[in-house]
């Protein structure tokens, strides 16, 4: 039973991939499917050859302690989502309701707020540990 389920899932996955590739190759609007391939491989290389090694190096040698690591993870996520808006909000795209906020200020505010929260968490941790040690002594 488990084996049947596993085989069916694998076949369904292969079928979906096949359908997706067929669609990419035959869609009338996608005039050059090679462009998509170039960007897909480019994304893979960007992540696997640049971003991931950088994160591993920072994690192994620079970012010590769970609180700093945790904050860096949160900050990276906020930057990934917020930075495109910051980069784009300076452009005049002729639509005042698109990107209507001060994104640089907002991103800095959110990063600062998360840093304050992380610092408080670190403070509480340290206090709890000291407290605990006193009691044990």
């Amino acid at each position: 039973m488990a084996r049947l389920l596993r085989t069916t899932t694998a076949l369904a996955g292969a079928a979906l991939i096949g359908y997706g590739i067929y669609g990419l190759l035959h869609d009338p609007y996608i005039t050059d499917p090679l462009d998509v391939l170039v960007w897909a491989v480019g994304g893979l290389l960007w992540h696997d050859a640049l971003w991931a090694p950088l994160v591993c190096l920072v994690g192994a040698y620079l970012a010590r302690g769970p609180v700093l690591r945790g904050w860096l993870i949160v900050a990276a996520a906020l930057m990934a989502v917020g930075l495109p808006a910051v980069l784009r909000s300076g452009e005049d795209h002729g639509n005042s309701s698109l990107l209507p906020l001060d994104y640089l200020r907002n991103l800095l505010v959110v990063l600062a707020a998360s840093a304050v929260l992380a610092l408080s968490a670190a403070g509480i941790r340290r206090w709890l540990r000291r407290h605990h040690r006193h009691r044990v002594e």
Binding site: R6, T7, T9, A10, A12, G13, A14, A15, L16, I17, G18, Y19, G20, I21, G23, L24, D27, Y29, I30, D32, D35, V36, W39, A40, V41, G43, L44, H47, D48, A52, V55, C56, G59, A60, P66, R69, G70, I73, V74, A76, A77, L78, A80, V81, G82, P84, A85, R88, H93, G94, N95, S96, S97, L98, L99, P100, L101, N106, L107, V110
Partner: protein, 390 residues
């Protein structure tokens, strides 16, 4: 992450081991010191990311079907719930955004596996790894193009909508293939081991916090009670002309000034033409309906105007007839829009002339626009010039 559970199958051809001299750099053992590059962390993150991907796939498919229904489905699309598309497309963008930190964390966890030795033990193993490449490449491109589309930023040479749609199939297929290949490993690490690992708990807490942070600071563009936290989303539902965001402006569509002799043409068994004064003399109705954009934002507004169903009756349309709506705009993929009968006959569906108590501005579709329940924003045609009974 030892794949102890995989057995040699008679149909699986083993591949020769490459010479050990090639095992350099990150291919050596012990390159990655963290203890979190292990299956339990990967399973926990994979569950969340898988749920986000499936949510995106299903809501995306729904959006695609609503925008471009195949003929057999056209007359069966539901006009209720009124807020359906608002919820489903809001969910699409919310889960896609939350997937960004989840994807980053999942890929970091399994990153050492990229350098496993030997690179391929057998043909099946090589195919499995190829499937992972398809999954990772399509997911990276999906979240990237999806995020930038919400900003209407298109730095790539291919069309967004079609590519995003087809890559969704590749990503979901890749996920199914991956789950099937890793099933024994997933099952073995499905439950929390005791005692737990403090480092893992800290890492997963940080990733959850990251996902929560990006969700809380962007979801306000569709979730009303999160509006005050809407700090990083490309839209705010209350900011725009007449307190409402605009997807395509009148300047972009070339419809800043409506022709002085504008008349609404209604073609059908009894064709007619109506001036603005004549339209205003017809019974006016109010609808409270959202504009729900495919880019994820949505905003509710009070619309008033003439019911489409009454205009169709005036033109002598039979009950089951749909309507084709044409806009004044010169081009654009949504200049002509087809509306199936039960949307057209819905009492909330209006040819709106006013929004929030004011005459429409050009950006919101002056002289007249369509507003209907449970439809993507691009089908709420603005600058309407003609209705045609189908």
């Amino acid at each position: 992450m030892d794949d102890k559970t995989s057995r040699r199958r008679p149909y699986d051809l083993p591949l020769p081991l490459p010479p050990d001299a090639l095992r350099r750099g990150p291919l050596r053992e012990g390159t990655f010191p963290s203890s979190l590059h292990e299956p339990r962390t990967a399973v926990v993150l994979g569950r969340w990311l898988g749920a986000a991907l499936l949510t995106c796939f299903l809501t995306g498919l729904l959006s695609h079907l609503l925008q471009q229904p195949p003929t057999w489905l056209r007359d069966h699309l539901p006009s209720r719930p009124v807020d359906g598309y608002r919820v489903s497309q809001g969910l699409h963008v919310v889960s896609g955004t939350a997937a960004i930190p989840l994807l980053g964390a999942k890929l970091w966890t399994v990153y050492p596996r990229l350098f496993e030795w030997p690179p391929a033990r057998s043909v099946a193993h090589a195919l499995e790894r190829l499937g992972i490449a398809v999954l990772v490449a399509s997911m990276l491109l999906e979240v990237f193009t999806g995020l930038l589309n919400t900003l209407q930023w298109y730095p790539w040479p291919f069309p967004f909508r079609q590519t995003h749609f087809w890559l969704g199939w590749l990503a979901t297929g890749g996920l199914l293939l991956h789950v099937a290949a890793k099933a024994p490993l997933i099952a073995a690490h499905w439950r929390r081991p005791r005692p737990g690992l403090a480092q893992r708990r800290a890492f997963l807490t940080a990733v959850t916090t990251a996902a929560a942070a990006v969700t809380l600071t962007t979801a306000g563009q569709s979730v009303p009670w999160l509006r005050r936290l809407d700090l990083l989303a490309p839209r705010r539902p209350d900011l725009g002309p007449q307190g409402l965001p605009v997807n395509r402006t009148a300047a972009q569509a070339g419809t800043t000034t409506a022709p002085a002799d504008w008349r609404l043409r209604v073609d059908g068994p009894r064709p007619l033409e109506l001036t603005m004064d004549q339209l205003l003399q017809l019974p006016q109705y109010n609808s409270e309906l959202p504009i729900s954009c495919v880019e994820g934002w949505s905003a509710s507004a009070h619309w008033s105007g003439v019911r489409i169903t009454e205009l169709l009756d005036l033109a002598g349309a039979p009950n089951g007839a749909g309507v084709r709506v044409t806009s004044l705009e010169a081009d654009g993929p949504y200049r002509v829009m087809d509306m199936p009968a039960h949307y057209a006959r819905h009492p909330l569906t209006l040819l709106a002339l006013r929004v929030n108590g004011q005459v429409l501005t050009p950006d919101h579709g002056y002289p007249a626009r369509i507003i209907a329940p449970n439809r993507p924003g691009v089908l709420q045609t603005k600058w309407v010039s003609r209705l045609e009974v189908l």
